[in-house]
Symmetry: C4
Subunit: 378 residues, 4 copies
């Protein structure tokens, strides 16, 4: 059983529109392949005859221990792949001893996730046009107990997901004959997720929108005040830095200058990310972006990376190139789509085992041993 098997199962389980919403990239899906190709192009140069009878992949992020150097990435509508999906995934993360990052676009409110799943909860923020409302949400996340604020900065405008449009699965979700047929032909999701949701609260809605603007996921938001702010700037970040008591991280850095600026502003971390290839299809692979960025700012803030991380060997490579941890997005959702918290944990278990094995096979016993000389590229 590996990540690809989980994906194959999830594909069968979920309505096609929902599966593609999760799985695909943008435009010609070049970035999806580029991300994978960049990780695959890196080779490890293992050292032999090192005692690897005990290896540890434990680490620490912003003062808290992690059982492995991974965070569950924030994903919009994780809550749709399983009943109370966000709680399920958060629970899996807690059980595994790693952080779960709640998305602004979650269908379950952060308070419920904190209460029901526990663990190390982070909060991902899409800043809205209306800053006051946004600050309200930030305060709410802080109050709920979220520890780290992750501000996503790589999609100031919506991305071009042509297949969503075709599947009737953009945001808002638009009911259509095609979508209806899609749902009816996936009865386990229909009965196990959709009907239960409907019976309980009706159609799911975006839980973090202010109540007056909260609409079902099938409708456009009631106001453009909760649109993602296209005018987000470094000043906003400075302001968020002031408000948030705890680490602040920028997610979606692809350029050295921006990493430098984040460090200069005294932020705590960045995520080198192209949003899993979902936003700008002409992005380079994050494995290509990471080294120069980690070299430049790794000493001043915590560098994390995501986009295309699938195997333990990818984790080892990322850390050897200077990242402190990785975020994993889709594979966790595939797991959750199959079996909720157990499914999500299944993937995280595989990832942990693979990371430990890759570390041992590389002749390293702990994450501090990882450095650039382990990696070779033609």
């Amino acid at each position: 059983m590996n990540h690809a098997d989980l994906r194959a199962f999830a594909r069968r389980r979920l309505p096609r529109g929902l599966f593609e919403y999760i799985d695909r990239g943008t435009e010609d899906e070049v970035a999806l392949d580029v991300n994978r190709a960049a990780w695959d192009a890196l080779k490890l140069l293992p050292s032999v005859l090192v005692d690897v009878s005990t290896v540890s992949i434990r680490t620490e992020l912003f003062g808290r221990a992690l059982a492995m150097p991974a965070i569950v990435a924030p994903t919009a509508m994780a809550g749709l792949v399983w009943l109370d999906g966000e709680v399920a995934v958060a629970r899996a993360a807690a059980q595994m001893g790693i952080p779960f990052c709640v998305s602004t676009q979650s269908v379950t409110p952060i308070e419920r996730i904190v209460a029901e799943a526990g663990g190390d909860i982070w909060f991902q923020l899409y800043v809205w046009k209306d800053r006051a409302l946004s600050y309200g949400l930030v305060d709410r996340a802080q109050a709920s107990g979220a520890r780290v604020l992750v501000v996503t900065v790589d999609c100031p405008v919506s991305s071009n997901r042509e297949y969503n449009e075709r599947n009737g699965f953009g945001l808002p979700l638009r009911p259509s004959v095609r979508a209806g047929f899609d749902v009816l032909t996936h009865p386990r999701w229909l009965t196990g997720v959709l009907l239960k949701m409907l019976l309980r609260n009706g159609l799911p809605s975006f839980a973090h929108y202010p109540p007056e603007f909260r609409t079902e996921v099938t409708r456009t938001p009631a106001s453009d005040r909760v649109d993602v702010a296209a005018d987000l700037g470094w000043d906003d970040i400075a302001e968020l830095r002031r408000r948030w008591r705890g680490p602040v991280v920028l997610k979606g850095i692809q350029r050295l200058e921006d990493a430098e600026r984040a460090a200069a502003l005294g932020l705590d971390g960045i995520v080198v990310s192209n949003h899993g290839g979902r936003v700008l299809d002409s992005s380079r692979g994050t494995a290509d972006a990471l080294p120069e960025i980690a070299d430049a700012v790794g000493g001043r803030l915590t560098v994390m990376v995501d986009s295309g991380i699938r195997r333990g060997s990818d984790v080892v490579k990322a850390l050897a190139l200077g990242a402190k941890a990785v975020l994993v997005g889709r594979p966790v959702l595939y797991g959750a789509a199959i079996a909720g918290a157990d499914g999500a944990r299944r993937y995280l278990d595989i990832l942990r085992a693979e990371t430990e094995r890759s570390l041992a096979l590389a002749g390293r016993t702990s994450l501090i041993d990882l450095s650039r000389e382990l990696v070779w590229r033609e």
Copy 2:
């Protein structure tokens, strides 16, 4: 809906001979792939936290405003994909606020296009063997109101389009059983385009040939005096420069020296182009040719580029590499083949939206912000 969808629709709508005439390249069609691969190999390095709430892709070319940095490329026989196709396409361009370049090989005379479509009309010239006749055509284009003269210099001899020969779709069009069957099995084109043409004026003819040599597109030109001049030289260009009151542009530059010479001659612009991969199959991708050329002469004349531009991200890349605007050929014709002016505009709308989105996602708000440092290549 994207450019590839339009192409798929056009393929079903048009007789195969006509579709392939538009769609394909030459010989082994290596250049078609090379063009795309060269654009795809370029990656953008987006800047984050830039206020992109308003982005503008407006520009100005030779003293006139363009709503976006694109020109509809001159294409022979655009008039065959839709009834009065050239007028339809020109109308779309005018509605979009960008120039349309009429081809020497148009089946609609430039005067009618100017009159019925309006907008910013450019004229593309194939110089004929008989220079006097050619000058006559140039004067006629000037009189009609065409603003820019685009002299195509990359096909002094005809190119090797084996599939056209096979499809009976070289120039002249040669009626054959195969071609007849092809037409009959595409009834919408037959009744919507061909029959209407026949009822109105009989078989279409090349509208810019002098009346005494004008023949139907199914016949060889009545005289070799209207053959494309194989002996076209820099002197001819100097003469055209003298005659034309307005900007003169050379289309089909692939080599630095030629760009330098065009600049030295005081020309107004060049189009770095391999004719969409239709002429010399061993051409390098224009994305590979552009940077050195733009660096060398970009300060002295207006550099444009075409061949394989499909997405907004390609436009952003082209401008970041030093082009002032791009030309788009085939996708406009695919649109026109489906729904005339509306179809052509549909593609141009997509291109505009994508260009704006790519610009915003790159963290740039206007075209002046685009420069080499935005682009990365492995």
Copy 3:
């Protein structure tokens, strides 16, 4: 008839679980392709007009003559592809005049192989957790007459063979409906190998485990004392060096530093190997690793190489890059699976003929003529 034909025949003959156990790599099987691609990327620059009417590929390894510069690699459970498979393969090697390396995980004891096959027998050691037991095995191998001790150092922990798990073909072999069906549908293997084994000794067991821990291959070892030692270190190697009277070779070196250290320790040889792409899927091709390693330590110890060697031209390349000999794994097993010793010899015959031919076509008459200048890489 070539190696690929043998593979195709073996695939039909063997139960799928067994075939895949032999044939496949690990995780995404990237290393399998990378190994081949690295050999294929090397080109030979043949010299012409050299008298190649007699070419010799004879060589000498650790004081003993070899008819060609190849050793049959140690492979676990070679004994399952044919009745008494290890004896068959060893016999083929002896007949060909090249060494056979017995695996620790052999199902036939080394004493029987030495007795029945003769020839130049090497012994491959997986050091066990319990060193005393391991030394016992080493002494036993020495006593049996094995000449060279090959210590495998590249798999301190088990590798990730997902397909084995799926096929019920990890170690231990786990009987399952699927595995049963697999066996029943391959009657020639069932009657020719399995039933005969069962009638004779019952299920095969690992012949080199100490009797008290020896279990059938379908059971987990009776004790973790015979697990491969994850804490194997350079000290262990020094100790083995002291104990073994004869050449000691490390198998599984991919990194320059480790090769240097082996040389410093006074070892006799190393095998540059990624275990045929079966252990760390992110390994670089051994053809990429070999040159720098051979340059650095080739003067001090004997460098050998394996992983992906299939054709005689690969052998010539390996030697031109500085290896003294190659090991070949899978193709010998494919041959044995089809026709026992004859089949194994069939492959070795092909390899010899190809090596001679490649040498002659390269314009070289003996292996000493091979050096770096023969090889070209883009």
Copy 4:
């Protein structure tokens, strides 16, 4: 109609064994692809606004005019694709104004070819073990009127053509049920070629073997004295140089040193060739070998090139890289297989037209204008 169409027709016409004998490469057929890839990787940088109303591809080789810079390559058993195939092909070459090179392994004697086809006849020599017999053949060729002696030096031992073996189409041809069925299912070749041959002279034989050793192509040569000499050396070449009154050319040079030595020996020419990918499958593409060789010795002797030349653009590239002419092998045979002399000429016509067109599109009017700066490679 292009070279690929001719190949497709030939494939249908010829028995599979014969077609594959001509068409395929050796071992894994890597060199076939490498040859094409190397030509395709070269791009032309066309100059515009050059008067190309008359272009000439005429050239001169060893004092005799050629209508285009191409020679029909020597091919064994060309005589089997069409009745009197060698005469047909030679006739086509003569009509086109280019040389035809008769192979030592021709089934038609050179005297008949000279007499019936005329034109510029070259003779390709495989030196036999028995030098006296070989000199006899050389004298015979000289007496027949052959002008240039081409000594093939790249296959001192036979190559590894596994598919020939499989098809029963190695040399000697071995009759088999499979071969028989193959022939019966290709009736046009059976009746048009084979039966006519049988009725006339019985099975064809190698026409240049001394009468006492001449055997039908289905038998092994009667003596190993006519085996290709594996001990051919530079002394033999010096001797041939002394004997032959006229230009002497070495065919099959891939290495700079050998080219240098040929020049030092005062030879007249070399053919940079890997025998069309038929001999050493690990060869680099000849387009990669050519430039350094032409740079080094192009001033001292005539450099020619072959292997993978298909299109006129390949010819232009070869000449721009320093070759004086190219040899073309397979495509001429495809043409001949379809329609004898007419078919062969058909291909040569296409090649001429393509070469002229490519030259013109490159903005060059004659072959002397071709130099390195025309070619670009990434």
